[in-house]
Amino acid sequence: MTNALIRLPRSVKKGEVFEVKTLIQHPMETGFRAGTNGTTIPRDIIEEMICTYNGVEIFRMKLSSAIAANPYVSFHTVATESGTLYFRWTGDNGFKVEETARITVA
């Protein structure tokens, strides 16, 4: 039930550079905050995000406790051919979310 939003242009020209924007639901609990009973709230973060374009990795990011809740990440890539962008976020407590988005290259 984790929500992720991905935005790409609907269609791009071959060779064009386009921006990929992503937003995913996650508390990004730092592991440095005190809970109500004085103990530390355990860390719960997304540790890594990767993106492949028709199977080839084009972007990878390691996240830390310093990334804000509900992480927003944007990056760029070159339009090579029509196909699928695959996204995977992994993190603490077995967190794993996969999403795909279609890109049409004219």
Binding site: N3, R7, K21, L23, P27, M28, A69, N70, S74
Partner: protein, 253 residues
């Protein structure tokens, strides 16, 4: 000089100056450009994650009646303008209700399902979805005479001193609007963007949650969620902001 003396006497008489229409501004304009940009771009506005949930809940059949919001209302887009005129008088509750309470009335009366908890993901999501449909519309409180005593009560609450710090809403948000409380610019307290993704909360939250924060800040006892006192304040705040553009779901610091 005469005018100055008059103004001073007015102050001494404890009358808070209402904000002239030309000077009204949304809290959006008191934010830094980078936070404004977060609200301007739906892909950078984390509130959109709640809207996404709202769309799911909107279409889910619920309760003993096995009905979804969509079964009665159709597409969420048909709710355009609704959030801009809430709170409104609900005949089925015989009281003014805010949008959260309207959604819950639909649940208990139509869907025959238990009400959502205040500030729950479900309620905030549905509220965000419905509120978003009124973007760019003008805030348009209904001219229902049954609301008048409640709006009046809200106006009185807005001007009443409360808490250990003995402050009224008006002292900060009208008399000292635009000035700096520590590092923060005091906004005019117009409910243009609710529910808001508040950076401090790192979550979406309702106007009632924000009012609760203010009460705690002035060291006053907050009301329980859903209390009629909050709804009265909401009614007055919407009347005060009538005609201003709606920008939900907003981002605020």
């Amino acid at each position: 000089m005469k005018r100055l003396l008059g103004a001073l006497l007015l102050l001494a008489a404890q009358a808070s100056a209402e904000i002239p229409e030309a000077e009204r501004r949304s809290g959006y304009h008191d934010m830094s450009p980078s936070v404004q940009a977060m609200q301007d771009d739906d892909m950078a506005n984390p509130a959109m994650l709640w809207v996404l949930d709202g769309e799911k809940f909107w279409n889910q059949r619920q309760g003993a009646a096995n009905e979804s919001c969509a079964d009665c209302h159709g597409e969420a887009a048909r709710m355009a303008g609704v959030a801009a005129r809430y709170p409104a008088f609900a005949t089925d509750a015989n009281a003014p209700v805010n949008l959260d309470q309207r959604i819950n009335l639909c649940r208990t009366e139509q869907q025959k399902a238990p009400a959502f908890e205040y500030e729950s993901r479900e309620l905030l999501s549905l509220n965000a979805l419905v509120s978003m449909q009124s973007r760019e519309q003008q805030i348009a409180p209904p001219s229902d005479p049954r609301l008048l005593p409640f709006t009046q009560a809200g106006a009185e609450a807005f001007n009443r001193r409360q808490g250990q710090l003995n402050l009224s809403c008006a002292q900060c948000h009208e008399d000292n609007r635009g000035r700096k409380l520590a590092g923060a610019t005091i906004p005019q307290a117009h409910p243009t963007g609710y529910p808001i993704y508040r950076l401090e909360w790192q979550s979406l939250g309702s106007l009632q949650r924000r009012l609760r924060n203010c009460l705690i800040g002035m060291r006053a006892e907050p009301y329980a969620y859903g209390a009629p006192e909050y709804v009265a304040l909401e009614l007055y705040l919407m009347k005060r902001a009538a005609g201003m553009p709606f920008e939900a779901p907003g981002v605020r610091p």
